[in-house]
Symmetry: C2
Subunit: 316 residues, 2 copies
């Protein structure tokens, strides 16, 4: 890793695109004591970003700020080239469209300082395609976070065919260095890993609506009051390691594997995402939400997430 900066020499991070994900990354980098150069092409982005940071800062204080962390360490830039030209690390959060990201990458390609690493938050695009025409493609990597990135530890790190393996190691190390939980995805597949797992779960949760198995509220509770609580503590294979009792995973596999296989065989491929199905889920969500607005629910999610994260951090 001689070619790349030691982690403790990283000073300035560029954030390209400051929508929901980019704004949350910006708040997190500031809380970890970095200077941030932000850029977004949208109208009113500076006020929106400032507002997001002001809302997230008390949450980040609860988690614990790095000494010297300061919301004033944020610089607003009017073009992406200026933003990356002084950066040691770049986190890109442009819209999920191949043409938009490729145009942006082309612009900043040679503006990227010699030791800087460029990480994309892309959830659905394939990095090898995004960087195909770049001169600095070997320094591009995917660092895919989960919403909201300033609270959720997971970052999926994926390299393109063109990525220097040392850059993947560097990104894994850097995300860990700043308090994230990076995992290494070994292949470029649509949706990386965690979103594929979520999509599999949501597919069956959607079938449950289509098949009128339970109300939308009860389908939500089927996870959040049950297996979801365990999945905040341990991942799916480890949870089933404990389902086997003293016999461990082998016992789970031999005793419950056949039941799992029989349930799989009754799963039905892709439900059709019709407007009627959307309306049905929205009605159910409205019933569950009651008086709570989207803002209320978002604030509640973040309060509870913070409480869960704190509880898990304080329990070994």
């Amino acid at each position: 890793m001689a070619d790349y900066l030691p982690f403790d020499q990283v000073r300035r991070i560029a954030v390209l695109g400051t929508g929901t994900i980019g704004a949350s990354w910006t708040a997190y980098f500031l809380a970890r004591g970095y200077a941030v150069s932000a850029w977004d092409p949208g109208d009113g982005w500076k006020a929106n970003l400032r507002e997001f940071i002001d809302r997230a800062w008390p949450q980040l204080q609860t988690i614990g700020l790095e000494p010297g962390a300061d919301t004033a360490a944020l610089t607003f830039l009017d073009d992406p080239v200026s933003a990356v030209s002084t950066a040691d690390f770049v986190q890109e959060n442009a819209p999920e469209r191949l043409d938009i990201k490729k145009e942006l990458y082309g612009k900043i390609d040679y503006a990227l300082p010699a030791q800087a690493i460029f990480s994309s938050s892309t959830s659905g695009l394939i990095l090898s395609e995004l960087v195909a025409d770049l001169g600095t493609s070997h320094r591009f990597v995917v660092g895919h976070p989960f919403n909201p990135p300033h609270l959720i530890p997971l970052v999926e790190v994926v390299g393109a065919r063109q990525t220097d393996p040392a850059v993947i190691d560097w990104a894994m190390g850097f995300y860990k260095h700043i308090g994230k939980h990076p995992i290494r995805i070994r292949k470029e597949v649509p949706g990386h890993l965690a979103n594929r797992l979520q999509a599999a779960l949501w597919r069956e949760a959607t079938w449950a609506v289509v098949n009128d198995l339970a109300s939308v509220e009860d389908i939500n509770a089927a996870i959040s009051q049950g297996p979801g609580l365990r999945l905040a503590v341990m991942g799916p294979h480890m949870i089933f390691n404990l389902t086997g009792g003293k016999g461990g995973f082998e016992k789970f596999y031999s005793h419950f594997g056949p039941a799992m296989e029989s349930w799989w065989q009754t799963m039905q491929g892709e439900p059709e995402l019709t407007p009627e199905l959307c309306a049905q889920i929205v009605d159910g969500l409205r019933e569950e939400a009651g008086e709570r607005t989207i803002n209320d629910l978002e604030a509640e999610r973040d309060r509870k997430l913070l409480a869960v994260l704190k509880a898990l951090r304080d329990t070994t």
Copy 2:
């Protein structure tokens, strides 16, 4: 519901089968202040049950005991007929085999007191088949908990074709009365609802091993450090309601629905559960577990679960 007991007149609960699930139910009912008549056909079950309760009691104290709750309110019975004959409510946790449960149900059928409700913890069997030959079938219901039932709030309530609808209402009300989070499953399908959702997730988590997408440890973290944290807070449809930002679920559906559909199309049906795959997952779990034994991991799961439950309860 005139035919069935008011919840506050329920005094004694029979627990049939005191393996992992039955022992945990027993501890929970005792903590809620009920007298419990327990029965199990296995060797050494009384000592095992006592040991389980002693281990679970401090956890239940943390959650809060009902006034008068006492581990001494437990009676060990040598046959199931004696156990149910004085019970107001029965929770059955016999092995997941049609023949075993049917034999047991046949034995206790007419011993069930006139107002008592019989609830089965079955996760995989169809109640209508289990109760087909019974005289008291209208008072049988499924009350399927999640491991460990003394900590996880979810209970799935399902009626058989033969079940009196008032009995389903009664069971929903009673589980709620004792501090559980019951949900009503409207149809008898293999695995009810929550296990189908888990099975869908585990199928994709198993494909990730087969396809060498990441290490077993990283596949676990893909959930527990990411979406799993959110799923302890809100269910899958509600989480995606917030993914849409101000636009809510409709925006998620129109913006991310097509991505979900494209990921679904790359999912591959059932992986083959070979011995080699089991060994590969076990190796990965061993690496993740390090020095921790199954007992250590189980204790850690329960400590963290308790902390998460407490954090969620204290945060509105």
